[in-house]
Subunit: 326 residues, 2 copies
């Protein structure tokens, strides 16, 4: 079994992620072989396992009692993440995920609904078998609720041409930063790291998550179909107006409105024109600057963590992950 | 606040169910007002609150520590039930639920996906705040997982004209009996009732759930649109071949196949012809006999419970609920 090449530089965490992946694969073994195989293929398709990785790294700032349970905990975070991806693909009607057909493209939306639901139960089940601490259960429930409230918020923002930067931030906080924040925090909390480290973990996770999502959103405007694992310009067509567009629109709203009014009917030529407009108003550069600000906040906070080897790994991984030129 | 008239005869349990409903309504209050209002209307639209009711009744066979937490527990079961209903309506593309438009008819399938997911998190959150017992959490996770594995099984049975009675039983066990069984068992377990009562509760819940689902499936073949809260013949058109049809088909498979091959294309006239065929081969009577067998098993087991007032209520409610002529 292997994990994403990102982890090759760090053999210890790589080994732990392989264990985590093993738990994930085992946890989805059910009577329904198609679903089991699809999910196992999906786990194999190169996800970076970032949420488990941050959890595992932060768990080293405290005391580790049982590795077995710790891997279950790490696996639960990725399973929760995949559950939301499977359901997001229904909403976005997305044909591709991680260079593979999405569950809904393979088996239809009906199966995709239940597969996501099934993954929520797997998450819950792993969690229940990974901790004796009711506070951990309760924090998970709260965090999961926040993610879903965020998803529902986001639905209200779709095709809203008046979306503000503040609303966008709130939306990506729920969509992405929440789970990054929680994964880091849960690692520190689970291992009973000092309270100050737990709070730092939260802040670091939040800033990583925000930077990560902004950069992901930038990619949708930057890339060509060939070098991306998902279709381009999908966000805009689906009515998710993200930071590069919002910042460019702040310069000249009227220029963009005729395009946005076409919603899903935007032609390839028109998309190119929008791309040029965004370039003209420096939407991408400005968004990159904001992402960099979040990245720098994360890195500065990581520097303040207690001096153990994992601190350096956290620093390095975060730098690589959020490197604009990567 | 009121609950279904079924409970008017039992003022104590009625009062407890009103408290439970209050917890449910509070638990779905979020920023997104449309979702909150839709769910609150849905809770108000006359569900019988059977799962919470059985939970509450069985909780009286042990020791009750906190009513507040007990109501949360009861509410969590109904929320879990509603979550599965919201997602089922996506699968079945169902326009109506409890005489109201379904969430997906109101807001589209995207919102319905996230609303169901949100309810799963509410369930999880209520649960985490209702018990200090990790075993309870773990049992819930297991039970929820079984329900979802059941839903996925069911998808494989759709439009399968070779479906056997045994497969049908397995399917309704996951779909319905599992949560009835669990609600009864959880009541007894939560209140630390004697182990024998806990086992009886399981058996009783299972038999009630099986009878209940068979009767619900019978209704789909029996009723006219007017007296039902949901469209008729929906199951067959959606490819869910239930007991009356399966039993009738066992008598003359060939007679039914030309109809079933039309799947969703079945005309009203053809549906009437299928109804007549089912009548001819006594599909409904035979299914009713099987339902009665499950009902009798439940009632016989209830009789063996320790002699407290709730035993009589359980007996009476179950009899009323599962009365064929009701």
């Amino acid at each position: 079994m292997t994990v994403h090449p990102l982890w090759e530089m760090y053999p210890t965490i790589q080994k732990e992620l392989i264990e985590t992946k093993r738990v994930m694969e085992k946890s989805v073994k059910i009577r329904n072989k198609e679903i089991t195989e699809t999910l196992q293929l999906f786990f194999d398709a190169g996800g970076k396992l970032l949420r488990p990785a941050y959890f595992l790294l932060f768990s080293k700032f405290g005391t580790i009692e049982s590795d077995k349970k710790r891997y279950r905990m790490a696996a639960s975070l990725e399973i929760l993440h995949v559950a939301t991806l499977v359901h997001d693909d229904i909403i976005d009607d997305s044909p591709v995920r991680r260079s593979m057909p999405s569950v809904q493209a393979l088996y239809g939306q009906d199966i995709a609904v239940y597969t996501g639901d099934f993954l929520f139960t797997v998450y819950f089940h792993l969690l229940a078998n990974a901790t004796n601490d009711l506070k951990t259960i309760s924090l998970n429930a709260q965090s999961m609720k926040r993610i879903l409230v965020g998803e529902l918020d986001q639905m209200n923002l779709r095709y809203n041409t008046n979306i503000t930067v503040k609303q966008y931030f709130q939306h990506i906080k729920g969509k992405t930063a929440q789970l990054f924040e929680f994964s880091c925090y849960e690692g520190a909390h689970y291992s009973h790291a000092p309270k100050t480290v737990q709070l730092q973990a939260k802040r670091i996770g939040y800033n990583i998550g925000m930077a990560f999502q902004i950069m992901d959103d930038i990619l949708d405007y930057k890339s060509t179909q060939e070098d991306m694992q998902k279709p381009v310009f999908e966000d805009m067509k689906n009515g998710y107006y993200t930071l590069p567009l919002i910042l460019a629109m702040n310069e000249n709203r009227e220029a963009f409105l005729p395009y946005l009014e076409k919603k899903t009917e935007l032609s390839n030529q028109e998309m190119k024109e929008v791309q040029q407009l965004i370039e003209k108003y420096k939407g991408i550069e400005k968004a990159e600057m904001i992402a960099e600000r979040f990245t720098n906040k994360a890195l500065t906070s990581i520097k303040k963590l207690p001096d153990i080897a994992e601190k350096d790994i956290l620093y390095h991984v975060t730098e690589v992950l959020l490197d604009r030129n990567n």
